[in-house]
């Protein structure tokens, strides 16, 4: 395999550097002093708000000019301003869908080279090299929309590589990926950094994934400056507690397994030979022959590879998609007079029986403040005003969102959005909770809180169905596991 031509690694110097986004009162980063030598591979950690993403954006030269904010101090790549040498720095961001520029694989990888005025023949040579370097064996005309998350991230990496950067920046590249995708991307990055000798800076809270690749760990302090800097083992040991509180997945720290009362109640939903599909009753089945019992006080984890139909099953169990075949019914305890088929329930009937938390919380937001958002469900049920306030206040407090009661849901952080989406479902007190990838992309702190909260709900006598890739979640919470990988369509 031909290696991408070696590029001398870039040298990073920060001297008292700070940045404040336009319109904000507080600085995102302040008084940062940091030197990174060419070829070093750094893992950048810190609590959210410590400015890690801002630092990477600054190094890539994409923070913007006067219109976007104020800077102080100096931030230099190879002794010059980052903005004056785009192409020397490659940046890969967190969201796979928001980095794809063009519709065909080859074109997307070539995009960076075009901007750098690389001659046409050279462009296509680099495109081939880069695609090979990241292990993407796809024709140049392949559609970028059809790629998996891991493939899209590797595509973004290839696009950055084609520019022959001396500095490679990765901002939570595997946060939105399933386990297989995480390994794909990590391996691609490892291969690339071996062969090019470029300087590497990675921001991630999944430390154990990246430990084999990096040789230095830098922790940014929330108020500004550097908290710790040194060899991975040393820093992780010394800063173990700070990092764990900050939500970093520190290797060696045990995940708490919540203690449960193990109340076992009655069956609420039952599926026999169920076949599910995205287009409902008329369409093809994505998965078939599924037997499932949802019992009060017990948690079912649905696992399986991408495309096995987990999300489709979740939506069907939640009464949002009609089953394609087989039998799926609610027990009298759950149905309580509304009929046995959840898909036929009216939305208001669904509210008090089955609550669904979507994979992307933003799809569920309806209102302009948290308080109103939580009140949507109870209001649809014509719950009297004072009781709505009572429920809302209790939930806000329980999920530590009370200080954000007047904030717009879209302005919350990732973890806060996730907690909000769970809270909104609970406001209408459903007996069954269906969760689609609840711990996706969450840091360790949110993870612990969610697991503890779900354990509480189970003890209260509710049932939980969780679709998840997360093996830790399965071992912490699941009473039953349904694995969809081995089934095919009927």
């Amino acid at each position: 395999m031909p290696s991408v031509s070696a590029q001398a690694g870039a040298r990073v110097i920060a001297r008292g550097w700070g940045w404040r986004h336009a319109g904000r009162r507080a600085h995102a980063v302040s008084a940062l002093d940091l030197v990174i030598e060419p070829g070093e591979r750094v893992l950048l950690l810190g609590a959210s708000g410590a400015g890690k993403s801002t630092l990477l954006a600054g190094l890539a030269g994409v923070l913007g000019g006067d219109e976007d904010g104020d800077s102080e101090g100096e931030l230099l790549v190879d002794g010059r301003e980052p903005a004056s040498q785009r192409g020397r720095v490659g940046l890969v961001l967190q969201d796979p869908d928001s980095q794809v520029v063009l519709a065909r694989v080859g074109d997307d990888v070539a995009f960076g080279c075009e901007n750098l005025a690389v001659p046409r023949d050279e462009i296509w040579r680099r495109v081939h090299e880069s695609l090979e370097a990241v292990g993407l064996d796809l024709p140049l005309g392949a559609s970028t929309t059809e790629l998996s998350g891991g493939q899209k991230q590797r595509l973004a990496l290839a696009g950055a590589l084609a520019m022959r950067p001396g500095l490679l920046l990765l901002d939570e590249p595997t946060a939105n990926l399933d386990p297989a995708g995480v390994v794909e991307v990590r391996d691609a990055v490892a291969r690339v950094s071996e062969s090019t000798g470029a300087t590497l800076v990675v921001v991630e809270h999944r430390v154990s994934v990246w430990l084999p690749v990096v040789d230095r760990v830098v922790v940014l302090a929330a108020g500004g400056g550097v908290l710790a800097d040194g060899r991975p083992d040393d820093v992780l040991r010394a800063q173990r507690d700070t990092l764990t509180t900050a939500g970093v997945w520190v290797p060696g720290v045990d995940l708490p397994v919540p203690s449960r009362r193990r109340v076992v109640g009655e069956p609420l939903l039952e599926a026999t030979g169920l076949a599910v599909g995205r287009r409902g009753a008329r369409g093809p089945a994505v998965a078939a022959d599924i037997d499932l019992r949802v019992v009060a006080g017990r948690a079912v984890a649905v696992t399986g590879a991408n495309g096995a139909g987990k999300s489709t099953l979740a939506l069907t169990v939640a009464g949002l998609l009609p089953p394609v075949g087989g039998r799926f019914a609610a027990s009298p305890a759950l149905a309580a007079g509304a009929g046995t088929s959840p898909i036929r329930w009216r939305p208001r009937e669904l509210l008090t029986r089955i609550g669904t938390v979507f994979q992307d919380p933003e799809h569920q937001f309806l209102s302009t403040t948290l308080r109103r958002e939580l009140a949507v469900g109870p209001r649809a049920l014509a719950v009297p005003g004072p009781e709505i306030d009572g429920r809302v206040d209790a939930l806000l407090e329980r999920l530590r969102l009370d200080h954000l009661a007047a904030a717009n849901p879209f302005t919350l952080s990732g973890g806060e959005k996730r907690r909000l989406s769970v809270a909104t479902i609970l406001a209408s007190r459903p007996s069954v909770l269906v969760l689609d990838e609840p711990t996706f992309g969450q840091d360790a702190r949110t993870w612990r809180e969610l697991v503890a909260f779900l354990a509480e709900l189970l003890d209260d006598g509710r049932a939980v169905v969780a679709v998840t890739h997360d093996a830790d979640l399965v071992s912490a919470l699941a009473d039953d596991v349904l694995d969809l990988s081995s089934r095919g369509a009927a």
Binding site: R24, G49, E67, T411
Partner: protein
């Protein structure tokens, strides 16, 4: 990340500096996104229009009341991006997209789009791209409505064939439509976007007082 913004006087970072004129990449892409989204809406509206067209045409001129739906892209783009050319650009992108998908007006949609965008642009330019109050936005929508009304009664297949008094009704209803749909609705949409934090990189997203 929570947004803590305050509009009260403080060590304001860039709020008092003169607004830049040059379009950043984020200006271009977001204007395109708004344009494309609007283009899809234009197309869908055109499809829905068939059925109502016949009915409303029996109203003798009042079908101008629908015109606003084709005008809001320019106004919305103009007040979000707040740079010279934003209204024209967004409206043209919307027109091109609806054209690509396929409408019964074919290429004329592009020409209409340019005129509609220019109309809103001229109003915003008159205020030197510095005033973004509700009144200015409503005026932009109104003028766009007037412009498309006049264009239609001169060139368009259906309105040009109307009797003169019907044409007057047409232009009048077009103006009202521009005021309400292109003006008021755009203003509300921009405000909603700003409140949701989607406009963090724009001046239009920083003047709301969301204090948490």
């Amino acid at each position: 990340m929570s947004v803590h913004t305050s509009a009260t006087g403080r060590e304001a970072s860039t709020a008092t500096k003169a607004p830049a004129r040059r379009w950043r990449v984020v200006d271009i892409v977001v204007a395109s996104v708004i344009g494309v989204a609007s283009g899809v809406v234009f197309w869908a509206w055109g499809v829905a229009y068939y059925g109502t067209d016949v009915l409303l045409s029996f109203s003798g001129g009042f079908q101008g009341i629908f015109n606003g739906m084709w005008l809001f892209a320019g106004v919305l783009g103009g007040i979000i991006i707040r740079k010279p050319g934003a209204a024209v650009y967004t409206e043209v992108v919307a027109a091109v997209v609806s054209m690509l998908i396929g409408t019964q007006w074919g290429f004329s949609v592009l020409i209409w789009g340019i005129v509609q965008g220019l109309a809103a642009e001229i109003v915003l330019a008159l205020f030197l791209y510095k005033s973004w109050r509700l009144g200015v936005v409503l005026l932009a929508g109104t003028v766009a409505g007037l412009a498309v009304g006049l264009m239609d009664i001169t060139f368009s297949s259906s309105a040009a064939a109307l009797a003169p008094e019907r044409q007057f009704v047409y232009v009048a209803s077009s103006i009202v439509s521009g005021l309400v749909i292109a003006g008021l609705l755009s203003w509300l949409a921009a405000r909603g976007l700003a409140r949701s934090g989607a406009l963090n990189r724009f001046a239009s997203g920083r003047t709301t007082e969301t204090l948490v």
